[in-house]
Each structure stands twice: as structure tokens, then as C-alpha cells.
């Protein structure tokens, strides 16, 4: 038997030989449950433990040809059993429990082999460091368990609702939403993200870039589908005269969106995962990896229904994730990586879908405001004119009406941008607070003809 105290060696691992799907799972695992056991390094040379995705042919090949001779303890991820000396096999889909157990096994192995393996010469120092980390982890865990926070109340209606108890009903709701999917969506889904290891495998062997492609859903839509999507995101509201009655173009923030914004705020403040509870689904806001886990695809009609049906009467309570919930979530991520969204992208889409081009009542379309920062448009759902709006608004203090007029575009796109950028905290209402660009005048006038031709080329492909 190995002395427990020796098992706290930090495991230095590199994920260059792991495919996208499992990388996303491990990302979250390292950020939370594994944070005191594992530390990430950039190359396998620096690693003291190898993690190899055996179903990914190049990785397996590298292991067999090269790494195996290094004699480092190895964790092999694979669908089918792998029996090799010095190898701990982990069956897919990965579970947090199995990962922690494997870590324990490898730590024992490192301790046992410290006499003859060169890399474990560092072990005593690592062990001391890990011991300290371990103690801190314990303390944090206890603190976390006690920190079951109640959602800050924003509406009187919410106060009357008792906190929904934490029951692990979430696996059911996840399964439900997967089963409910129509065949068409299913195939779309598996295109966006590898649902089965099979497709992951073939995709990866096809193209090495696929292995590192972001796990964020990237849906390719036809022109008609795109039009339909823009309607979902930005509505169909006609322009109004700025002097007319604004009630037509304004709406209350939906309950879902305001709950989500609160959850994001809380998660950011305490840098802990926050669970937002609704009867239909649970939303996990994970600031450590800058992601949101939501089992209902944001592209689906179900998501729109969900957003619209959310009300204070049946949910919207939130709390910091308990250790048990982190375990559960880890396993859900392993089952459904496609449910992981970039945090800002999720907030952006949610904001657009809930507003449908109507301006949040908290925002005044006649008041000049500034865009402090551009949204990261490469990872957000784009709609018509989003880029010119961002460019103009970040250059000048303007009202939403002015932006629409200057660019000669429908107001609903500007209102949509205003809503979504506000939800991301990118709008500055007080222009005194703005950081002005220390600008020297441009050496030359912008050659607009050239820009226009270059833009056409870039957009046209």
C-alpha cells in the first residue's frame, strides 16, 4: 500500500494528443475538480504524465513510436480496453470519478517509480507543493459547500417563490432534450460537434485542423435559413419616427435574460460556477472556462420556447455549484460537449432571441452612448449590419436612432445590437468615463475605394 501523503504529486499534463471532444471535457475537469491534482504544460516533454487519446490515430501513433520509450506513466483514453504496461486505461465517455481515480493511480505509480525514473526526481518538491494546494482545496471546498447563495432578487414576484431543492433530476432533463430532437436536427447536431466517438475519429483523421477546431457549435445555414434566423434574432419591427411613441419598439427584459445576467454577474464576482435552475433545464455559468452549459441547443425552436416560457413563478433561482454538482456536470459535459457555449456567445444569443429587435426599456434610443469595446464577432451569431454598427458606435457617441440613420439601416438591427452589447457590458452610458483613443491624426485619408473593394473581396470569399 502506498502512503496517502505521497500521492499529492502534481500531475503535469499536455493535451496535444487529445481530440476536441475530450479536450473540452478535460478543460472543465482541470479548471475545477482536477485543479489541485493537475497542471497543464505545453508539450509532452514537460509532462510527467502522458494523456493519450487512443482513438485518435496520430496520437496513438506518436505514443507507440515515440513516447512509449520515455517510460512516463500514461493515461490512455479509449472506447475499447487497452492493456499496456504503465498505462491506466480510461473508458469513454470520461467521468470525473474515473479521472480522479486514474490520477490517484498515476500518483502512486510516480511515487513507486521515483528511484528509476528521471522525471520523478522533482517529485519531493512537487509533493510539498501539492500538499499545500491540497489543504487549500479542502478549505475552499468547505467554503463552497456553505456558500449556497440565494439569487439576488430583482422582482418582487421572485421573492415569493421558495428555493427549489437540489435534486439530481438534471440527467433526465438532458436525456429528454436529446431524445426530443427531430432527425433533421440530429444530423445537424452531429455536424456541429462530434456526438459519437465514431464521428470524432473519422473527422480527426481526415484533417488535422479538425482536431483543434473549437467545440463551439458552428452551424452552416442556407440563405433562407439565415433569413429566418435573423428574424428570430432581430424581429420584424418596422422603423418608427424617433419622436413617435416608443412603446411600440420597447419591451421589458425577459425573465430568462435578467436571470442569466444575474447569474453571470454572480459567477464573475466569485469566479465560481453558478447554476441557474428552471423546470425545463438547468443553465450552468462557468467563468473559469468562460463557458455556459445548456442542454437545449440555442439554435433550436425549443430554446426559443424555453426562453419565452421562463417566468419567476417556476424558476430562476441560482446558487454556486456544489462539489456534487460539479461532478455531475463534468459527466454531462462528457456526454454532450455540444452543450458548451462560449459565455459571451450564449449571453449574446439569449439577449437577441428574447428581445426580437425590441429595445430593452432600460435603454433610451435617443440618448447618445458609446461602445466601449467591440463584441468578439468571430464567436457570436452575426446579423445584418452588425459590423458597421460596431465600427460606427465605437468611433462616436451616438444614439441608437442616429446610428440607424447614419448607416441608413433598419432600426431593429441597431436596437438588437444595443440590447446584446449592453447585456455583455460593452456599452458606456456615461461618455465621461470613456477611454478616448490617444489619436494623432491619420497620416492619410482613408482610401475608401480600396477599402470597399477589399471588403467586398473579404466578404465575398
Amino acid at each position: 500500500m502506498i502512503d496517502k501523503s505521497n500521492q499529492n504529486i502534481t500531475l503535469r499534463v499536455c493535451l496535444e494528443d487529445v481530440g476536441t471532444h475530450n479536450k473540452a471535457v478535460l478543460d472543465f475537469f482541470f479548471a475545477k475538480l482536477g485543479q489541485h491534482t493537475f497542471s497543464r504544460v505545453d508539450t509532452q516533454e514537460e509532462a510527467n504524465v502522458l494523456i493519450i487519446d487512443y482513438d485518435y490515430p496520430p496520437a496513438r501513433h506518436r505514443y507507440e513510436e515515440e513516447y512509449q520509450q520515455w517510460n512516463k506513466p500514461t493515461i490512455v483514453l479509449s472506447i475499447s480496453p487497452v492493456e499496456l504496461e504503465g498505462v491506466v486505461w480510461l473508458s469513454k465517455p470520461l467521468t470525473s470519478r474515473a479521472l480522479l481515480d486514474a490520477a490517484g493511480d498515476v500518483q502512486s505509480e510516480l511515487v513507486a517509480g521515483s528511484s528509476d525514473k528521471p522525471e520523478s526526481r522533482k517529485a519531493p518538491a512537487d509533493a510539498a507543493e501539492a500538499q499545500a494546494l491540497h489543504q487549500r482545496a479542502k478549505a475552499e471546498e468547505t467554503a463552497q459547500r456553505e456558500a449556497l447563495l440565494q439569487r439576488p432578487e430583482i422582482k418582487p414576484a421572485a421573492a415569493a417563490v421558495p428555493n427549489i431543492p437540489l435534486v439530481p433530476a438534471l440527467t433526465e432533463s438532458v436525456d429528454q432534450s436529446v431524445e426530443d430532437k427531430k432527425p433533421a436536427e440530429q444530423s445537424e447536431q452531429s455536424e456541429q460537434s462530434e456526438q459519437s466517438e465514431q464521428s470524432e475519429q473519422s473527422e480527426q483523421s481526415e484533417q488535422s485542423t479538425a482536431a483543434a477546431a473549437p467545440p463551439i457549435a458552428q452551424v452552416v445555414l442556407t440563405d433562407e435559413e439565415l433569413e429566418a434566423r435573423w428574424q428570430q434574432l432581430c424581429g420584424t419591427q418596422q422603423d418608427i419616427d424617433p419622436k413617435a411613441d416608443l412603446s411600440e419598439i420597447q419591451a421589458e427584459d425577459g425573465f430568462f435574460l435578467s436571470s442569466l445576467k444575474d447569474a453571470v454577474r454572480l459567477a464573475r464576482q466569485c469566479q465560481q460556477g453558478v447554476l441557474l435552475n428552471f423546470p425545463d433545464t438547468r443553465i450552468y455559468v462557468l467563468p473559469e472556462i468562460h463557458r455556459v452549459f445548456c442542454a437545449i441547443p440555442t439554435h433550436s425552436p425549443e430554446f426559443i420556447d424555453f426562453i419565452k416560457s421562463c417566468s419567476a413563478a417556476d424558476g430562476g433561482k441560482m446558487h454556486i455549484l456544489s462539489t456534487k454538482e460539479i461532478h455531475e456536470l463534468n459527466d454531462m459535459i462528457a456526454q454532450q460537449t455540444s452543450a458548451l457555449y462560449d459565455l459571451e456567445s450564449f449571453v449574446w444569443t439569449s439577449s437577441l432571441l428574447s428581445a426580437e429587435g425590441k429595445l430593452s426599456r432600460a435603454l433610451d434610443p435617443s440618448k447618445p452612448v458609446d461602445l466601449r469595446h467591440w463584441p468578439s464577432l468571430t464567436r457570436l451569431e452575426r446579423f445584418p449590419h452588425v459590423m458597421p454598427v460596431a465600427a460606427l458606435w465605437s468611433a462616436d457617441s451616438l444614439s441608437a436612432f442616429d446610428v440607424a440613420r447614419s448607416l441608413n439601416i433598419p432600426q431593429r438591427y441597431v436596437f438588437s445590437f444595443y440590447n446584446a452589447a449592453s447585456a455583455l457590458g460593452l456599452i458606456e452610458q456615461d461618455s465621461d468615463k470613456l477611454i478616448k483613443k490617444q489619436s494623432t491624426s491619420r497620416t492619410t485619408e482613408a482610401p475608401r475605394g480600396l477599402f470597399s473593394r477589399l471588403l467586398k473581396r473579404l466578404i465575398g470569399g
Binding site: L15, T20, K23, D27, A31, D42, T209, A212, A213, P214, P215, E288, I289, H290, R291, D342, L343, E344, R372, H373, W374, S376, L377, T378, R379, M387, P388, A390, A391, L392, S394, A395, D396, S406, L407, N408, I435, K436, K437, Q438, S439, T440, S441, R442, T443, T444, A446, P447, R448, L450, F451, S452, R453, L454, L455, K456, R457, L458, I459
Partner: protein
């Protein structure tokens, strides 16, 4: 036909994706002036850019936009001044997996500060697929501290669309509100 104002410069630390980004949008096979990397850069990855990358976008018959990637090492920075002359804007690529990306951001924005003030900077953060932290919002805050206003996008240098959007943002920032489409 003059080639003034038709140059986009790509800079950033070794391995950030400059060569890859230029390759993603160039109409020609990119030209790299090959040189042996120093041992320090070699340790990071096998083939690194020590000299300059060159690519090009053709517009119509005889109009071209030249794409230059700066040498990734500090000892070459005497070239940067020459390189930026007549440039439209600067694409700064930061590798999110490096030890101190904030320091990288600071270093490159300082090295190009005159050019940035006169023209337009866009920041593309690469390797966010493998390294989720720091996040885009951290970069926005760091730029605020440096008192620089520039779009920051998460990009993958291997994705043409990502690189293209970065450059679109640069062009639109240079001529905001213009009916250039």
C-alpha cells in the same frame, strides 16, 4: 500604380499564428524568407518565422493588398519601422497559451505605438480553443489600461473567416459610417 496604403501588417510573438493567418487569406502561396531560428525560439516549436512572411490579396486586374508578417523576434525590430510605412493597419496576434499574454500585448502595442495611434490596430487572440483563459474580456481590460481602443476577437489563424473578420473590423474602423459596401 502606386502601392502606398495597401499594406496590412501582421505581428505578434513566435507561434501566435502570423504565417498561418497570412496563408489563410493570401491569394498566392506565401513567401517566407527562411532563416535558422535561434535556440530559444526553436524550443517553442520546430519551424518558426525569424524573418518576414509575405502574402497578397488581388483586387481586380492590377490592384493588390500586400500582407506582411513581422519577424517574431525582438532583435529584428529595427525592421518594424520600415515595414509599417504606408501600412493600412496592424493585426496583432496574441497566443493565449503563452506564459504572460498581457506582457505580450503590452510589448507589441508599445513597439508599434506610433503606427497604432496613426492607423488602426485589431487584436486577434489565438489558441483560445486549447487555452480558455485569459478570456476576451481580460484583453479588453488590458487594452483599457494601455489606453488603446481596438477590436479584440477570438480567432483561429487557421480559419479564413476569422482572419477575414479581423481585417473587416480594421477597415470599418478606419472608415466608420462610410457607405463602403
Amino acid at each position: 500604380m502606386s502601392t502606398d496604403n495597401k499594406k496590412i501588417i501582421f505581428t505578434g510573438p513566435v507561434g501566435a499564428g502570423k504565417t498561418t493567418a497570412i496563408r489563410s487569406i493570401s491569394d498566392i502561396d506565401i513567401v517566407t524568407t527562411d532563416e535558422q531560428a535561434s535556440d530559444m525560439a526553436k524550443a517553442k516549436k520546430p519551424a518558426t518565422t525569424v524573418a518576414m512572411d509575405y502574402g497578397m490579396i488581388r483586387l481586380g486586374e492590377n490592384e493588390r493588398v500586400h500582407l506582411y508578417g513581422t519577424p517574431g523576434q525582438e532583435r529584428f525590430n529595427f525592421m518594424w519601422d520600415i515595414l509599417t510605412q504606408g501600412g493600412i493597419g496592424l493585426v496583432l496576434l496574441i497566443d493565449n497559451s503563452r506564459k504572460d499574454p498581457q506582457q505580450d500585448l503590452k510589448f507589441y502595442t508599445q513597439a508599434f505605438s506610433e503606427f497604432i495611434a496613426a492607423q488602426q490596430l485589431v487584436v486577434g487572440v489565438t489558441r483560445m480553443d486549447t487555452h480558455r483563459t485569459p478570456n476576451v474580456n481580460d484583453y479588453r481590460n488590458w487594452l483599457d489600461q494601455l489606453r488603446i481602443k481596438a477590436p479584440v476577437f477570438e480567432v483561429d489563424a487557421r480559419q479564413r473567416d476569422d482572419v477575414s473578420l479581423l481585417i473587416q473590423a480594421m477597415l470599418m474602423s478606419l472608415a466608420p459610417g462610410a457607405e463602403i459596401l
